[in-house]
């Protein structure tokens, strides 16, 4: 797995070069268009500095991360057990699957009016939306993971006379874990997309609010783009963090390298 030193250098220098070229093109395009609204890269940089100085950046990042964490953790706590149970008990699957498939295609954004109706303009509204948006990918993946488990594992375990609870705990759950982790990664990505949208409408803080507020209160597009860049950066970090779960010895077998 170890990259050679040369490879390492390339994996840092090449992306940096691309970034630099993009900034130059961006700057050139703004200059050529003579736009006085669209910010130049250095103005965005100054915008970020301004946000840090006012203490807004940290405050908004913390607000967004808090909502995502609570909503996501709730979705994991509900979605994983629910998916495993529905995957295992056929009648429960037959009963609930149509409802899940009906609710699943509804964009979390469509839930915003209802979220505001139920929770007012308050942290609970975006948390609810994130919970919903993460719940479906996690549940559906867990269902499929149980249903597609290799029968030989179940038979081997039954042969040793394990109880039903042990079968679940010692075989079904670990056998499904690699796929569940993949679904967590996907769900967290979606949650991060949704929090921004939710904050634009349902609350008065967070990175999504920052973007919409910067535009509404004075066309501060430098702050809009600054907020966007922060969203991208934090999303990248979240993904890197959750990918670390795939490195545990107990689940490595589930990923082809």
């Amino acid at each position: 797995m170890g990259l050679s030193e040369d490879e390492m250098k390339k994996s840092i220098l090449l992306p940096l070069a691309v970034l630099l070229v993009l900034c130059v093109l961006w700057d050139g395009a703004v200059l050529l268009s003579k736009s006085d609204i669209f910010p130049r890269p250095y103005q965005v940089f100054l915008g970020i500095v301004e946000l840090i100085q006012h203490g807004l950046l940290l405050k908004y990042v913390v607000a967004s991360l808090f909502r995502v964490s609570v909503g996501f953790v709730l979705a994991v706590l509900v979605g994983v057990p629910l998916g495993l149970l529905l995957g295992w008990f056929r009648p429960a699957f037959l009963a609930f699957n149509p409802v899940i498939q009906l609710l699943r295609p509804i964009s979390p954004i469509a839930w915003i009016p209802i979220a505001i109706l139920w929770f007012k303009v308050d942290d609970r509204a975006p948390i609810f939306l994130i919970f919903l948006s993460s719940l479906f990918p996690i549940t559906v993946t867990a269902i499929a993971a149980v249903q597609n488990i290799q029968p030989v594992y179940v038979r081997a375990a039954q042969n040793f006379g394990v109880t039903r609870i042990d079968l679940f705990r010692r075989v079904i759950f670990p056998a499904c874990l690699p796929q569940i982790i993949t679904s967590l990664r996907i769900a967290l990505g979606i949650a991060w997309l949704v929090v921004v949208a939710a904050e634009m409408i349902a609350v008065n803080s967070g990175l999504g609010y920052l973007i919409i507020d910067a535009r509404n209160a004075g066309k501060r597009y430098d702050l809009v783009v600054a907020g966007m860049l922060m969203i991208g950066l934090i999303g990248l970090i979240l993904d890197l963090l959750i990918r670390r779960l795939e490195r545990f010895e107990e689940v490595k077998w589930g990923y082809s390298h």
């Binding site: 040793f160 010692r170 056998a175």
Partner: protein
């Protein structure tokens, strides 16, 4: 023929496995012809005996093993194991699968200890240690299955089956996915383990040579519907000389029973 190894005489005492007039017919979808897979199988296996079931592919030999294990229900006839009708899998009889039966999320020692998790810790440790040694995996206790070769994984599976000290071991083409040389080595090791542990082994294979190398008795099935064509006693001393007249004789008899010529290519 030759010397009789101890425990190989299938005529003393009560059989541990007794299959009486067993048949299986799969009733397909409406309108489709039902498929008769097995017909009037009568088979007895004695304690400590090593019996191989061979037959052409699709003859129902794995199905027969699945019925005896309790994974599948027969249409007619009875299966008595250790005196009682089979109702389902039972930890006193462990099934060894062809491949991928070991749990990839557990280490070698965790896999081997899987069936004895409810025993005292100290006993678990000793038992696992003993079987790790017996199947020659010392040094790989903490390894995960994905880090092992196919042969080593199959050793884990065999050790896992032995650890709860079952009386009977069912094996469904356990070496089928291995290369020729590994297979030879695994057969020698299995014979040694069987001699040390004195288990009853019922072993399904499509490999005639394998059956003659391993078994006290070879049960030859016909193609579908599977019936017992012949039972051939292999009274050869172990370790077996694969060049001996008696070995070749037994092998040719099975080939002949199945209706195959030992010549390859056109004349």
């Amino acid at each position: 023929m030759g010397l009789l190894p101890l425990g190989a005489i299938g005529t003393v005492g009560e059989p541990v496995i007794s299959v009486r007039d067993l048949g299986l017919t799969f009733v397909g979808k409406k309108g489709a012809e039902p498929i008769e897979v097995l017909r009037s199988i009568n088979l007895e296996v004695m304690a400590g005996e090593f019996v191989c079931i061979v037959g052409p592919s699709g003859c129902g030999k794995t199905t027969l093993l699945n019925i005896i294990t309790g994974f599948l229900k027969q249409s007619t006839g009875d299966v008595l194991v250790q005196g009682t009708p089979v109702k389902g899998p039972d930890p006193r009889r462990i099934f060894v699968f062809q491949d991928n039966g070991v749990f990839p999320w557990l280490t070698v020692e965790q896999n081997i200890g899987f069936g004895i998790a409810r025993r005292p810790r100290e006993e678990q440790r000793e038992t696992v240690h003993r079987y790790v040694q017996m199947v020659g995996l010392t040094g790989f206790e903490k390894a995960y299955p994905r880090e092992l070769s196919g042969g080593m994984r199959q050793r884990v599976e065999i050790a896992r089956a032995l650890a709860p000290n079952p009386e009977i071991i069912y094996m469904d083409e356990p070496f089928g996915a291995l290369d020729f040389i590994t297979r030879l080595k695994m057969r020698a090791d299995l014979t040694r383990i069987w001699q040390e542990e004195k288990k009853t082994i019922l072993f399904v294979t499509h490999d005639i040579e394998e059956s003659v190398q391993l078994a006290d008795r070879v049960v030859v099935l016909s193609s579908r519907p599977g019936t017992i064509r012949k039972q051939i006693r292999i009274d050869l001393p172990r370790p077996r000389d694969l060049d001996s007249f008696e070995y070749l004789n037994a092998r040719d008899e099975i080939f002949h029973t199945i209706g195959m010529s030992l010549k390859v290519g056109s004349g």
